[in-house]
């Protein structure tokens, strides 16, 4: 886990205590998972908690016990309720809900509006700035197509698609076992197992010319899962290459986006991360795309190779055209 600042850790602890108080006896691993931290981090947090109190007499200190692999937190009445939502926290949820509200044909509209009303009331003044951030997911999606695609996902039904492939400028017919519907980067996509391609494919909904929900089970083949959205997904193993990258402030998102082994924040606002990968092609592309915001620290030859490729691309072009 990243080295976090003292104040970030404090807000995390103030959220963690009420969560644990309401889940007395929860297993250590399950608690760590629910709190989004490692078991080691959770143990270190609990170690810190029981040193704290509204006074330093034993009966004034917070009690924390996890000896038997189950977590108990006591004598924490003063902070047994979470701190009010901060501005960033309120804004993410409110903007997220309002974005959902704009999705055409969503049947959960009523639940979204109720959640939004309660959330805004609870957030108080922290909710106010949310009005200044808005997300327009996309303009062009046929509500009917979107609704049918969702139906397929929810009910595990096979879909039949008439799909336009712009590269070849042709319409194709295919049966797809749907996995999920995603809105990303201005478009809606259906991801699923395509029987024609015999692989996981992503279909842009604005290129779907026709979509029918078939009366057939649409569970994808065993062991098939959605692809990670991004460069490429890899499941790291010990034999993979260990790469250390330095991310400048503009590229910190990279550490949230790819599975990293370790991260540490530097005083100058940059972040050093390590990750394992069997294939460096995607990594080279990432570094090249980031225009200097991502720097390969090690292995050295990877950094040199990338620099050499950048330099070759910048050399006067020798290739004759026309």
């Amino acid at each position: 886990m990243a080295t976090e600042t003292a104040t970030n850790r404090l807000t995390r602890l103030l959220t963690m205590v009420p969560w644990l108080v309401n889940r007395q006896g929860i297993e250590l691993e399950e608690a760590a998972r629910g709190l989004g931290v490692t078991v080691e981090q959770l143990e270190s947090d609990l170690n810190l908690l029981f040193l704290c109190g509204y006074g330093q007499m034993p009966d004034e200190l917070i009690e924390a016990d996890w000896e038997e692999g189950r977590v108990f937190v006591g004598n924490a009445d003063t902070i047994s309720r979470p701190l009010r939502l901060g501005v960033d926290e309120a804004v993410t949820l409110i903007v997220g809900l309002r974005t959902l509200l704009d999705v055409p044909g969503l049947t959960e509209r009523d639940a979204i509006e109720r959640a939004l009303a309660k959330l805004e009331a609870a957030a108080g003044t922290a909710a106010e700035p949310a009005s200044r951030v808005s997300v327009d997911l996309t303009d062009a999606v046929d509500p009917q197509v979107l609704a049918h695609a969702r139906e397929g996902v929810q009910q595990h039904r096979r879909l039949h698609l008439t799909y336009h492939v712009p590269g070849r400028d042709e319409s194709t017919e295919r049966d797809v076992d749907p996995m999920r519907v995603i809105a990303a980067e201005g478009h809606w996509y259906l991801e699923g197992w395509c029987h024609r391609a015999e692989g996981v494919r992503m279909f842009r909904l604005d290129r779907v010319e026709g979509l029918t929900v078939l009366d057939e089970d649409g569970t994808p083949p065993d062991g098939v899962s959605p692809r990670e959205l991004g460069e490429s997904i890899f499941s790291a193993t010990e034999s993979d290459l260990l790469v250390t990258l330095r991310l400048l402030p503009g590229a910190l998102w990279v550490s949230d986006y790819y599975p990293v082994e370790s991260t540490s924040d530097e005083a100058d606002g940059s972040r050093t991360i390590t990750l394992r990968t069997a294939d460096t092609a995607w990594l080279e592309r990432l570094v090249l795309r980031m225009g200097g915001h991502v720097l390969v620290v090690s292995p050295q030859d990877l950094g040199e190779r990338i620099a050499a490729r950048a330099s070759a691309a910048l050399a006067p072009q020798t290739h004759d055209v026309d």
Binding site: V91, K118, E284, S311
Partner: protein, 329 residues
């Protein structure tokens, strides 16, 4: 001597301070606080304690902890007291229905791959603190994915939320040099997958729209939080849509090395082979910045023939990569 070293000790000190100030029924004088928080007791002098306490107070307030100053009693008019009221501190008790929690979960997860993933997850954890974990059986079937890959996002977002004027370098597509702009940031809009800032440009004395991906370098604050009001009738989306027409498609001509650039080849609207067996591709693009980054990812496997703006952008990307690695070597 002092055990108050390092981030863990600071967290411990701040947590003790929060507990002490929440527990008390009356405002506490500084001397009392020093006696109750052990890390303060260990400070070498009253001055050192004062400085530390002042800083801690500010930091807690910045985190949203409602630490208030109140009169202790009429006899101690000059001596302020401190406390945190439970009613202002705690998230009000709210009960969410299962379907409401399901949509809240979805709203939170839509930020999972963005720079605001942390606050989004923490907010949900707070709302669900007293909630028994349920299986969110009500699968909604869609997943919005919000991205915040623009380097300027965090700084601009903070400025919009806190209403703080900012100044930054901004590249216009038709000009090579970045210009310095000073702006009251009114609103942040994601439209067609990209983030835009709408605000009042102080030098031009007019409302303007900025694409975050064109902000160059560091965003600096140019005033205090709350320095301006956003007009109530301001419609950021309308302004963004007007200034950023989506239909503007341009065509790039590229040369691609044999066997390379498959993702580009797939998107080409025209492909022809040249003598050297490199392929010449025509590709439609909307956003020159995004497309330049993609082309730069292929480095020497791709050459840009036109437009020249794309070529310049790709080269500036690659020069950045080169400079970063040469400096680090």
């Amino acid at each position: 001597m002092s055990a108050a070293q390092g981030p863990a000790a600071k967290t411990e000190r701040l947590l003790n301070l929060v507990l002490v100030l929440l527990y008390t029924r009356r405002p506490l004088a500084k001397a009392q606080i020093r006696g109750l928080v052990p890390q303060y007791g260990e400070t070498a002098s009253t001055e050192a304690f004062d400085r530390m306490f002042e800083r801690d107070k500010d930091e807690l307030r910045a985190l949203g902890v409602p630490l208030v100053t109140e009169e202790i009693d009429v006899l101690h008019e000059d001596e302020p007291g401190y406390r945190i009221h439970q009613r202002d501190y705690a998230l009000p008790d709210i009960e969410f229905e299962p379907d409401e929690l399901a949509v809240l979960g979805l709203a939170s997860r839509s930020w999972a791959q963005a720079s605001m993933a942390g606050p989004a997850a923490q907010a949900l954890r707070k709302l669900r603190a007293s909630d028994v974990e349920r299986d969110e059986g009500a699968l909604i079937g869609i997943e919005p994915r919000l991205r915040t890959t623009e380097p300027a996002f965090e700084a601009v977002k903070d400025a919009v939320l806190s209403r703080t004027p900012i100044t930054f370098g901004y590249r216009r597509p038709e000009r090579a040099e970045a210009q310095v702009r000073t702006v009251q940031p009114w609103s942040l809009v994601q439209w067609h997958g990209r983030w835009y800032l709408a605000g009042h440009d102080l030098d031009r004395d007019d409302t303007r729209v900025f694409r975050l991906s064109r902000i160059d370098g560091t965003v600096r604050t140019a005033g205090r939080p709350g320095a301006f009001e956003v007009p109530a009738d301001f419609e950021a989306r309308v302004l963004v849509e007007r200034s950023a027409p989506s239909g503007e498609t341009r065509v790039a001509r590229l040369l691609v090395r044999p066997g390379a650039g498959h993702s580009l080849r797939r998107r080409a609207t025209r492909t022809s082979d040249t003598d050297g067996s490199w392929s010449e591709l025509s590709i439609d693009f909307h956003d020159v910045d995004a497309f330049a980054a993609e082309v730069a990812g292929h480095a020497d496997d791709v050459q840009v023939l036109e437009p020249s703006e794309l070529l310049e952008r790709v080269q500036s990307h690659l020069r950045g990569v080169l400079a970063a690695h040469e400096a680090g070597a």
